[in-house]
C-alpha cells in the first residue's frame, strides 16, 4: 500500500472550507480535539487515483498567520513545525471567488513558508451571476501555484482538485512576496544570526505570542533578542508587511480578475436592507427565536414521548424475559432506565443544532451580532456574545468555546461566566418532567398552554439571569482592555444540506456519547448503592412482617413496604438521610437530595437518578413521570412533587451550576481554576437561596 501523505486545508472563515472538506472526505471523517486544548480537530481520508489516499486535516479558519486566538494558534503551530505529525506535504488554501483579494493574503503567507500550496477558488458557480472572469494560467504564473476552480455546492471541479493533490510533488515552493523588504536592516541581522532558518518563519516566531513548546527550541534560541523592538514597532512592521502583500495581490488581480459590476446582481444589499434594518431587523430576529423555541418544545415532544414509553416497556420486557437475578435487575433498573434518560434528549438537541447550523451557514448570525452589539455592550457583553448565549440553549460547552472570537478579554470573560445561566438542553428534561407534574394542563386565553408559558418563562429567566449578572460583573471586574470588535459580514448563502446534516449528527453524537458515559456510570453506581445496604437492609423482610403481625395488611402492600424499607436502609438511603436536613427547607426529601447531588456531574442525571431510585422496588411497568407523581409525603400524604416544591426545584435548576464538563471547559478557556470555582460557588449560592425563598413563600 502506498504511504499516505498529509494535506492541510486552510482558509478564511466563510470561504466554504468545511464544505470542501466534506466533499473531499465524504462521511469518512473524524472529529476530535487537539491534545490538551478544546479546539476542534477535523480530519478525514480522501481517496485519490490508483489507491493512493490523502490524509486531510481541516485547520481552523483564520484570516492570516498572525494569530489572535487559540484556534488560529493551532494553524501556526502545525505549519511551523516540520516535525509535527500533522505537518502538511501539501496545503490547499480555499478562497471565495467573490473575496479573492482578502483571501489571498493568507495564501501569500502560506506560500512564503515554502510549503507546496494549491489554490482552490471556491463558489465558482457564482462567477457568472456576479460577472466575474479570471485568467487562470496568468494567475497561476504570478502566484507560482496551481489553481482549481471548484464549487462545493454544485460538486464541480473536485476531480481536478484531486488530480492536483495527487501531483503535489510538482508544485513550486517559491515564495511570492519577499517580506524582508519592509525592514531590510532588521531582516539582514536576522539572516546573519540564523543562517539556516527560513526568514519568514523567524519573523512569525518573533511576532506571535504562540506557545511554541512543540517547536524545535534549539533552532530558535536567541530569537528573544529580536523581540527587543517595542511592541508598537513590531506592529508597525506587521502593518507594512500587510500593505506589501496587498500591493502584490492588487497587482496580480489587476491583470487576472475582471468584475463587470454593471452586470452584478446585488442580492445581498437588498436582503441586508431588511435584515439589518433598525426596526425590521429586530422584529425578524425575535421572530426567528420564537420559531426555534416553538420547534424545540412542540415538535420534539412527540418523539420524546415515544422514547420515554419505549424505554419503560424495554425495561419491563427485560425483567420478564431474562432469568431473575442481580444482573437482570442491574440491566433493567440501572442501565436501561439510565440510558432512557439520555436518549430522550436526542430530538431536542438535534433541533437546536439544526437551527444554529442553518443560521451560521446562511450568514445570518453575523447580522445578529451586528444588530445586538450596542445593546449587549450596555451589559458588559459584546454583540458576539449573542452566539454563545443562543447556542447556550443547546449546551454551554460549545457555547463557551464559541466565545473565542470575542476580541476583548473582559467581554469574553463575562460571556464565559454568564453563559451557564442560559437554559441548556440538559435542564430541559428536568423542567419538562417537573412542569408536567406541578403545572396544570390548562390554557390561558384559550390559546397558550400554561405549561408552555412556564417553560418560556424559565428560558427568559435564564437569559435574564445571564444579562443581569453580566451587568454586575461589568461593574465589579476591574480589567482594562481595549475595545476591539471586528466582524466579517459574509455573503448570504442557502445552507447546504450535507453540511448541516453532518453538523447535527456530529454534535448530537458527541453530546450523547459524552453525557451518556457519565450517566451510564452514575446509573450503575446508584443502582448498586440502592440495591445493597448494611444491617437492617438485609433483614428487611422479617422486620416489616414483624411490624405487620396482627394487622390486616394485604400481601401487595407488605411487598411495597418491604421495598421502601429496603431503599431507606440501603447505602444510598443512608447517604440521602444524611443530607436531608440541607435540602428539607427547599421542600425536597432525601431521594430528590440524592438526585441533586448526583446531578452535579451533569443536570440531566437528575431524571435518570430518580428513575433508578424509584424503579428499584417497584414492580410494575411505569414511565418515570407516573412514578414521580405517585410519590407522597410519608406523614401528610401530600404529593412529593407539589406546586411549592416543584417551583423550588425549577428555580434551583435554573440557577445552579451543575455540570462538570462546563467547569472543565471554563478552566481551559480562562486558563485558571479561579473563574470556574467562583462560578460554581456563586451559582450554587444563588440557586439555593432562590429555591429556599420560593418554597418557604409558596408552601
Amino acid at each position: 500500500m502506498a504511504k499516505q501523505f498529509n494535506v492541510a486545508l486552510i482558509g478564511n472563515p466563510n470561504t466554504g472550507k468545511t464544505s470542501v472538506f466534506n466533499q473531499l472526505t465524504g462521511l469518512n471523517q473524524k472529529v476530535g480535539n487537539y491534545p490538551g486544548i478544546t479546539v476542534e480537530r477535523k480530519e478525514g481520508i480522501c481517496k485519490l487515483d490508483r489507491g493512493v489516499k490523502a490524509h486531510i486535516l481541516d485547520l481552523p479558519g483564520t484570516y492570516s498567520l498572525n494569530a489572535s486566538s487559540l484556534d488560529e494558534n493551532v494553524v501556526i503551530e502545525v505549519l511551523l513545525n516540520k516535525n509535527d505529525k500533522d505537518f502538511p506535504d501539501v496545503a490547499i488554501v480555499v478562497c471565495d471567488v467573490e473575496n479573492l483579494k482578502r483571501n489571498l493574503l493568507l495564501f501569500t503567507q502560506i506560500k512564503d513558508l515554502g510549503i507546496p500550496t494549491i489554490l482552490a477558488i471556491n463558489m465558482a458557480d457564482r462567477m457568472k451571476r456576479k460577472a466575474i472572469s479570471l485568467q487562470i494560467p496568468e494567475m497561476e504564473k504570478r502566484l507560482e501555484t496551481k489553481i482549481a476552480l471548484i464549487s462545493s455546492r454544485k460538486n464541480e471541479g473536485f476531480d481536478e482538485l484531486k488530480e492536483l493533490i495527487s501531483n503535489y510533488k510538482q508544485l513550486s515552493t517559491a515564495p511570492c512576496v519577499d517580506a524582508s523588504v519592509i525592514a531590510p536592516d532588521y531582516f539582514d541581522r536576522l539572516r546573519k544570526t540564523f543562517p539556516n532558518q527560513d526568514l519568514y518563519k523567524l519573523w512569525l516566531v518573533i511576532t506571535q505570542d504562540v506557545n511554541f513548546g512543540k517547536l524545535d527550541r534549539n533552532a530558535f534560541q536567541g530569537v528573544a533578542s529580536f523581540k527587543t523592538e517595542s511592541k508598537s514597532n513590531l506592529k508597525r512592521l506587521q502593518q507594512k508587511e500587510t500593505i506589501r502583500r496587498y500591493q502584490f495581490i492588487n497587482e496580480t488581480l489587476k491583470d487576472t480578475l475582471q468584475v463587470d459590476s454593471a452586470n452584478a446582481k446585488d442580492f445581498r444589499s437588498k436582503l441586508d436592507r431588511v435584515l439589518t434594518h433598525k426596526v425590521w431587523g429586530y422584529v425578524i430576529f425575535f421572530g426567528i427565536l420564537l420559531l426555534i423555541f416553538q420547534a424545540i418544545f412542540d415538535w420534539s415532544s412527540y418523539p420524546m414521548d415515544f422514547i420515554d414509553e419505549s424505554f419503560a416497556s424495554l425495561s419491563e420486557w427485560t425483567k420478564n424475559t431474562l432469568p431473575k437475578g442481580d444482573f437482570t435487575n442491574l440491566l433493567a433498573e440501572g442501565i436501561i432506565s439510565g440510558l432512557g434518560g439520555i436518549i430522550i434528549f436526542i430530538p431536542q438537541i438535534a433541533f437546536l443544532f439544526l437551527f444554529i447550523a442553518v443560521l451560521e451557514e446562511s450568514g445570518y448570525m453575523s447580522r445578529v451580532v451586528f444588530l445586538m452589539d450596542r445593546v449587549m455592550r450596555r451589559f458588559g457583553l459584546s454583540g458576539k456574545s449573542v452566539v454563545p448565549l443562543v447556542s447556550g440553549t443547546a449546551c454551554a460547552i460549545p457555547a463557551i468555546m464559541a466565545t473565542r472570537n470575542i476580541e476583548n478579554w473582559k467581554e469574553r470573560l463575562i460571556t464565559i461566566l454568564v453563559t451557564p445561566f442560559t437554559t441548556c438542553s440538559a435542564r430541559l428534561p428536568v423542567y419538562l418532567i417537573i412542569i408536567s407534574l406541578v403545572i396544570p394542563e390548562e390554557r390561558v386565553l384559550g390559546i397558550f398552554s400554561l405549561q408552555g408559558l412556564t417553560l418560556m418563562f424559565l428560558y427568559l429567566l435564564g437569559f435574564g439571569a445571564a444579562i443581569l449578572s453580566a451587568y454586575l460583573l461589568d461593574k465589579v471586574l476591574r480589567i482594562k482592555t481595549k475595545t476591539f470588535f471586528v466582524i466579517e459580514m459574509p455573503n448570504y448563502k442557502v445552507p447546504m444540506f450535507k453540511n448541516v446534516a453532518i453538523t447535527v449528527i456530529e454534535k448530537t453524537k458527541s453530546f450523547v456519547l459524552g453525557a451518556g458515559k457519565i450517566i451510564l456510570a452514575i446509573s450503575i453506581i446508584l443502582w448498586v448503592l440502592a440495591s445493597y445496604g448494611p444491617g437492617d437492609f438485609n433483614n428487611a423482610e422479617e422486620i416489616v412482617r414483624q411490624e405487620n403481625i396482627g394487622k390486616t395488611t394485604s400481601e401487595d402492600d407488605i411487598e411495597t413496604q418491604i421495598a421502601s424499607f429496603k431503599l431507606e436502609n440501603s447505602y444510598i438511603g443512608i447517604m440521602g438521610k444524611a443530607i436531608e436536613p440541607a435540602v428539607a427547607p427547599l421542600g425536597y426529601d432525601w431521594k430528590i437530595g440524592i438526585a441533586i447531588v448526583s446531578s452535579f456531574a451533569a443536570r440531566e442525571v437528575f431524571v435518570g437518578t430518580l428513575a433508578t431510585i424509584y424503579s428499584v422496588g417497584s414492580e410494575e411497568e411505569e414511565t418515570i413521570k407516573n412514578r414521580m407523581a405517585a410519590e407522597v409525603h410519608p406523614v401528610s400524604g401530600v404529593p412529593r412533587f407539589n406546586f411549592a416544591s416543584g417551583i423550588s426545584l425549577l428555580l434551583f435548576y435554573a440557577f445552579a451550576m451543575q455540570c462538570m464538563s462546563t467547569l472543565a471547559v471554563v478552566r481551559k478557556e480562562t486558563n485558571s481554576w479561579k473563574w470556574p470555582l467562583w462560578q460554581l460557588g456563586a451559582m450554587t449560592v444563588i440557586a439555593y437561596v432562590v429555591a429556599l425563598a420560593a418554597y418557604q413563600f409558596l408552601k
Binding site: R102, F370, V486
Partner: protein, 75 residues
C-alpha cells in the same frame, strides 16, 4: 479631519492615516489600509456598530474604532 465615524450611508471615502496601536491588526488584514476605499453600508441604532465595505470586504466595527480612522471623502 473627518473619520469613518462621520460617514453617511452610501458615502464613499479613501482611508488616510490612523494610529496603528489603536486599530486591531485583524482590521488591517481585512483591507483597512491607507489608500483603500471605504463605504458605509448600514448602521445599527445610534450609528454603532457600523457596517462597512472596505476594499471590497464587508465588515462591521464599533464607532469607537471607526473614529480613529481618518478619511477623505470621494465626491
Amino acid at each position: 479631519m473627518p473619520t469613518i465615524a462621520h460617514l453617511k450611508k452610501g458615502e464613499r471615502a479613501i482611508i488616510k492615516e490612523f494610529p496603528v496601536d489603536l486599530v486591531p491588526l485583524k482590521l488591517l488584514e481585512m483591507g483597512c489600509l491607507p489608500g483603500n476605499e471605504v463605504a458605509l453600508v448600514q448602521t445599527a441604532p445610534f450609528q454603532d456598530p457600523m457596517y462597512l465595505n472596505i476594499n471590497g470586504s464587508h465588515l462591521a466595527i464599533r464607532k469607537e474604532t471607526a473614529s480613529q480612522i481618518e478619511i477623505e471623502l470621494i465626491n
